[in-house]
């Protein structure tokens, strides 16, 4: 049995660091510790500068801090990439065939590695 990842692991990493919410708020430039609590409890999502500040303060990549969110977003992107790849395959342009092949290859290599096997 496996378990879905939590939306975020901010509290886990903060507690591991030993920092209090107030100290973390100061480090990332938030107004108060309540804001950090809101992030930890999934009641609000930090802005990009705050998310990057959290990465620096905790020395953990944002993708790991927001592991659950990252998983769900990457799944959505992969699904879209698959649809885009199918569209590209079905295209029969008179010119620019090599560009389509290049795009397809890029998608398969970076976004949907399993695509070639399944289709």
């Amino acid at each position: 049995m496996t378990f879905p990842k939590l939306d975020n692991y901010l509290r886990a990493y903060r507690k591991k660091s030993g920092l209090s919410q107030a100290e973390m708020a100061y480090l990332v430039g938030c107004k108060s510790r309540a804001q950090i609590s809101q992030y930890e409890r999934r009641n609000s999502v930090p802005t990009l500068p705050t998310a990057l500040a959290l990465q620096v303060a905790l020395d953990v990549p944002v993708a790991e801090l927001y592991a659950g969110k990252y998983d769900s977003i990457s799944k959505q992107v992969r699904e879209r990439a698959e649809r885009l790849a199918v569209e590209l395959r079905e295209k029969k342009p008179k010119r620019g065939k090599s560009l389509i092949v290049y795009r397809l290859q890029w998608l398969v290599e970076h976004c949907i590695p399993h695509f070639q096997k399944t289709t």
Partner: protein, 165 residues
């Protein structure tokens, strides 16, 4: 029967009559959160009831299982708390497991002389808990407040050790 495996998130809870210590594990080596929640009665009574606090904890961490200590004799308060916890877990379809104090002792061979020795062994495994290390208890003093965190963590460690064999 439910089998623990290393890919599991659990909440280990040390229940008392008016408070509980908890430790949240993700797999056996990762401690996500820990702490103590209070619901004392009387003049300074805590307004949020125990079942709500327990439910919040489960909703926040979405565990596969909740682990509790099996006591031979229960006080009325603790039995009530346990019932509330089991109800909340059932609502969320979370398995509840019981571990006996003897099992906890056997999981800490060599450092099971008393709770403080177990706490020291727990800190070795999870250094992030070092700042909460309980002070040595004098026989005329009450138990250290933070010992509940270590009791809960020891319970979690035992749970994973039980199935690792």
């Amino acid at each position: 029967m439910h089998h623990a495996n290393k890919h599991e998130r659990i909440i280990a809870i040390d229940l008392r009559s008016s408070r509980f210590g908890f430790a949240v594990f993700e797999e056996s080596k990762r401690l996500l959160d820990w702490g103590i929640k209070n619901f004392r009665q009387g003049v300074n009574a805590v307004r949020i009831p125990a079942n709500v606090k327990l439910g919040d904890l489960m909703d926040e961490f979405l565990p596969n299982a909740v682990v509790l200590m099996r006591h031979e004799a229960e006080t009325k308060g603790r039995a009530g708390m346990r019932e509330a916890l089991i109800r909340e877990a059932k609502k969320r379809r979370i398995a509840v497991h019981f571990i006996s104090p003897r099992e906890v002792k056997s999981a800490f061979v060599g450092s099971n002389r008393n709770k403080y020795a177990v706490a020291a062994a727990v800190i070795k495994q999870f250094p992030e808990l070092a700042s909460r290390r309980p002070g040595e208890r004098k026989i005329w003093k009450p138990e250290d407040y933070v010992i509940k965190i270590f009791d809960a963590t020891a319970l979690g460690i035992t749970y994973f050790a039980r199935f690792a064999k």
